[in-house]
Structure formats: structure tokens, C-alpha cells
């Protein structure tokens, strides 16, 4: 039997597009220069590669090239934006507002800021994963300097109302930062159009290489400054020292260019396949629930809970052929189920039972057909094994059972 390798975990990381790899290759050996070497052609070539990439990103985001800072990825960009603003604007205030469903790179940066004397409000979200705009506005105080809301969630794909949040920030004179890692390159993300002042992104979520990303920092209306978090040679206009990762940056640029040209069509193709996958599973299986708002959602993601089935066990039924993720605690070292799903108000049991299916540029229709069969078979296998599925089928009220938690 031939082993299939179907990759439905594109929110974890995307394959590097061969066109991106091709663009990067010359910068390893033929053009090995340091982009900061001003006195010989090696340096000039490298600088030219970086400049072109900066232009490609600026085109994708509809911003100025001077507003793009290269980093090692979205984690670093989130750290730089949050801590950098906190330090730079200390005289204006010390309060930051963010969401409970943010990525750890944001949440843990905020935790650090609290230790440094900052105050952070972690807003809950609605059952569908969306922020309540009234609550957001009500949380603003005269000490608030920054609101940080991710563009699209990595687990559910839920897209927050960026324009509305941008308007609230503008009204109150608060800076607006967004971790747009899961959105850039897949849907239109023009920070200026929605009033974002800082925006983090990463190459490896958009078919570029791992270990490179960027931060958009607004230079006009308002001119935003961040305190550097890495000290050294003063690269990237002093905001991020360190020799530029030239091949990586060239790859990020090429990835941005491809995304800009192909995004519209690709989003349509993916949302059709995603809908096929979701519908295929929901039609075949009872007691399945989609997590997160389906109308405000990335085109390539669906997150489904299969009741009375444990996510990691479920994945094991097909993980030789199909790669996906789960919010199950058994997949995490902490033994806590996904905090994102918990913030949506799912019970622990439904969080344990979830799969995140994220499609990508290299997903084919036949992969979806195969995945529906394999996942449905896996759910049925696991339900045959599940004592709580049996109890549920017998009409036992699971709420009333006395469990021996251990």
C-alpha cells in the first residue's frame, strides 16, 4: 500500500514554495555578501536582494518600504512591537489591551510587561471567537497606550473586525497593533486601510522559509517608534540589530510577491475545498460542532469538535497519511486543552475533542476526498471504543455521572 502524505496543518507552518526556494538559492553561495557591507559588489548585491524583498512586502501590504522591519519571525515581531511600544511610550501610559485568544508570543510578552510594571487587560471573546467591540472600547482608560488584536486566529481561523477596532483606536488616540501572522499573504491585509500602526507577520506561514518575518511600523500619521529589544549594530533603522538573513528575506519577499498575485484566486479555491471537507465530515458524522464564527473566518481553516472522541487518539488513527492538529490536552505537555477553545466557552470535553484542519496552496481536491474518508473512519473507530459515546447513546446524562478525576 502506498503511503499518502496529506498535509492539512498549514497553520502550523507551510511548505516553502519551490519558486521561493529558487529565488533564495543564489544568495547562499553566488551572492554571499552582507547587506551592510557598503564597499564591494558582494554587499551591494545582497543589499539589492533585501531592497527588492522590502519592496515586495511593501506592495503586498500597501505600505512604504521604510515601514518594514525584518526580524526572525512573528514571535520576535510581537515581542518587539509590544515591549518596544511599552518602553517607548512609558510617559504616556502603561496599559495594554489584548485578547485571551491571542498567540503565546503576544500573551507571554504581555505577561513580561506586567512584570515590568505594565497593566494588561486580557479581554474575553464571544462564543464565536469574536471580540465584543463595546467591551473593547469600555476597557480603554487614560493610561491605555496600545490595543493588540490578532487579525486571524491560528486555531479557529476567526477574523476579528479590524476596521472597527482601528476606528476605536483612532477615536481614543491609542496605538493599534496586530499579530497578522495567519492572515498576511492569504487575505488582503492593508494596515493603513484599517488603522493598524504595527503589524507582525512571518514567512513560514505564507510559503516562505522558517526563521524570518517582519514588523510593519507606521511612519506617518502617526510616526510610531519602538524601543529596540536587541542591541548591536543598529540595523533596520536601529529597531532590530543583527546581520540581515539575506536568503531568508529574499524568500519572504518572493513569497509576498506570489501571494499578492495569486491570493484572490487561491482564497476562492481553498474556501471551496475547506467547505467540501467540513460539509463532508458534518454530513457523515453526528454530534460534530464547528468552532468559531463561520462567516468571519480564513478561507482555508476549519476547527471541528467530534463529541466523545479524544483528539489525539483520533489523530493517531490517520496520522501516517494525514497531518492535522488538535486542541486536545493529550497533545500538549501541560495537559491543559487549548486555551483558545476554552476562551470560546467550549467545555473541556469539546476542547479535547477538536481537530484543526488547515489547507494550503499544495492541497488538492483528491486530498480532501481522502481526508473525509479517513477522518470519518477514525471518528467512528474511536466512538466504537469510547465509553462515553456508549453512555451518550444509551441516554445516560453525562453531567450526572460521578467521575473520578485523577
Amino acid at each position: 500500500m502506498s503511503v499518502k502524505r496529506i498535509y492539512l496543518d498549514n497553520n502550523a507552518t507551510t511548505p516553502c514554495d519551490p519558486r521561493v526556494v529558487e529565488a533564495m538559492l543564489p544568495f547562499f553561495y553566488e551572492m554571499p555578501g552582507n547587506a551592510a557591507s557598503r564597499n564591494h559588489p558582494f554587499g551591494w548585491e545582497a543589499e539589492e536582494g533585501v531592497n527588492q524583498a522590502r519592496q515586495q512586502i511593501a506592495d503586498l501590504l500597501d505600505v512604504d518600504t521604510k515601514e518594514v522591519i525584518f526580524t526572525s519571525g512573528a514571535t520576535e515581531s510581537d515581542n518587539l512591537a509590544l515591549k518596544g511600544v511599552f518602553e517607548m511610550y512609558a510617559r504616556k501610559g502603561n496599559h495594554i489591551i489584548t485578547l485571551q485568544t491571542e498567540h503565546k508570543a503576544v500573551l507571554d510578552s504581555c505577561k513580561r510587561i506586567e512584570k515590568m510594571g505594565g497593566e494588561v487587560t486580557y479581554l474575553p471573546v464571544n462564543r464565536d471567537g469574536l471580540v465584543d467591540l463595546n467591551e473593547l472600547e469600555a476597557a480603554i482608560t487614560d493610561k491605555t497606550i496600545l490595543i493588540s488584536v490578532m487579525w486571524a486566529n491560528n486555531e479557529t481561523g476567526v477574523i476579528q473586525p479590524m476596521k472597527e477596532i482601528g476606528d476605536i483606536c483612532a477615536k481614543h488616540g491609542v496605538l493599534f497593533m496586530s499579530d497578522a501572522t495567519q492572515a498576511v499573504g492569504k487575505i488582503k491585509t492593508h494596515p493603513k486601510k484599517v488603522g493598524i500602526h504595527l503589524m507582525a507577520f512571518s514567512a513560514h506561514k505564507m510559503y516562505g522559509p522558517k526563521g524570518v518575518g517582519g514588523l510593519y511600523v507606521s511612519r506617518k500619521n502617526p510616526r510610531v517608534k519602538v524601543t529596540a529589544q536587541i542591541d548591536g549594530g543598529g540595523h533596520e533603522r536601529g529597531m532590530r540589530s543583527g546581520t540581515l538573513n539575506v536568503p531568508g528575506i529574499v524568500g519572504l519577499g518572493k513569497a509576498a510577491e506570489i501571494a499578492r498575485l495569486e491570493m484572490a484566486e487561491e482564497a476562492q479555491r481553498l474556501s471551496r475545498l475547506r467547505d467540501m471537507l467540513q460539509k463532508g465530515l458534518m454530513d457523515r458524522l453526528e454530534e460534530c460542532y464547528v468552532n468559531g464564527n463561520e462567516d468571519h473566518r480564513m478561507p482555508h481553516v476549519t476547527n471541528i469538535s467530534f463529541k466523545h472522541v479524544e483528539g489525539e487518539g483520533l489523530m493517531m488513527t490517520f496520522n501516517q497519511d494525514i497531518a492535522v492538529s488538535s486542541g486536545s490536552a493529550c497533545t500538549s505537555a501541560s495537559l491543559e486543552p487549548s486555551y483558545v477553545l476554552m476562551a470560546l466557552g467550549l467545555g473541556d470535553d469539546l476542547a479535547h475533542s477538536s481537530l484543526r484542519l488547515s489547507l494550503g496552496r499544495f492541497t488538492k481536491e483528491e486530498d480532501i476526498d481522502y481526508a473525509i474518508d479517513a477522518i470519518a473512519a477514525g471518528v467512528n473507530h474511536m466512538r466504537d471504543l469510547s465509553p462515553i459515546w456508549e453512555m451518550y447513546k444509551e441516554g445516560v446524562d453525562l453531567e450526572k455521572v460521578v467521575w473520578t478525576e485523577h
Partner: protein, 133 residues
């Protein structure tokens, strides 16, 4: 993290999946874990009254692959053992047999607890007083 062949075999083709009639006096049921914790294991034994030998064992488990394999293995080990022999099954033996990684040791503990629970239930039903050891 790759799993052992034995674990995968027990997971893909679990032995002794099913349900015994818990109203029977000869059947003992152990139900451990909680849905909120992501694992629930139900293990049942049927004991021959005269010989005190476990003649059948069945399980159903909601949990990860290691929990399912641990319960499948436990039922295999239980069959043919006397009730008192069964009490000596230790979770570390399961860990060893299935080569469970450290983060999955608690799944084997669950299996041991389920065995103990089933035996306790059987003894209570049959008014067998725990022998002091």
C-alpha cells in the same frame, strides 16, 4: 515522537473492546478518569465463581492512543489470571511492554486504576473481604 509497534498494534486492532453486563454478580466494572481530563477508561472483568479465575475482560476507553493501547493490553493480561494475581499488575509493566514515553505514563496509571476498580467492584458485589497483605 514515534510509537512502538506493539502500541500501534493495540491501538489499531484493540483486543477485547466491548461491554459486559454490569448487573451480573460475576462482573466487576472499573470506571476511571473524567471527560474534562480528556480520558475515561472503563474496564470490566467476568470472574468464574468457583475458580476465581478471570474468564473474560472487556474495555472501552476515551483517550489518547497510549490510553487505548494500555487498556487493550490490560484486558489481555487479565484473562486467565486469578483475581489476586490480577491485583499485582503494575502500571510500569505496561509502560515497559508498550514503550510508553514519559508524558504518557499517566495513561498506564489509569489502566492500573481501572483494573483495581474492577476487582474492587467484583469483590464488593460478592462480599469478598479484602485480604490483608
Amino acid at each position: 515522537m514515534a510509537y512502538s509497534e506493539k502500541l500501534l498494534e493495540h491501538f489499531k486492532h484493540p483486543k477485547n473492546v466491548g461491554t459486559l453486563d454490569k448487573s451480573k454478580k460475576s462482573v466487576g466494572t472499573g470506571l476511571v478518569g473524567a471527560p474534562e481530563c480528556g480520558d475515561v477508561m472503563r474496564l470490566q472483568i467476568e470472574v468464574d465463581d468457583a475458580t476465581q479465575i478471570i474468564k473474560d475482560a472487556k474495555f472501552k476507553t476515551f483517550g489518547c492512543g497510549s490510553a487505548i493501547a494500555s487498556s487493550s493490553l490490560a484486558t489481555e493480561w487479565l484473562k486467565g489470571k486469578s483475581v489476586d494475581e490480577a491485583l499485582t499488575i503494575d502500571n510500569m509493566a505496561i509502560v515497559e511492554e508498550l514503550a510508553l514515553p514519559p508524558v504518557k505514563i499517566h495513561c498506564s496509571v489509569l489502566a492500573e486504576d481501572a483494573i483495581k476498580g474492577a476487582i474492587k467492584d467484583y469483590k464488593e458485589k460478592n462480599n469478598i473481604v479484602e485480604s490483608k497483605s
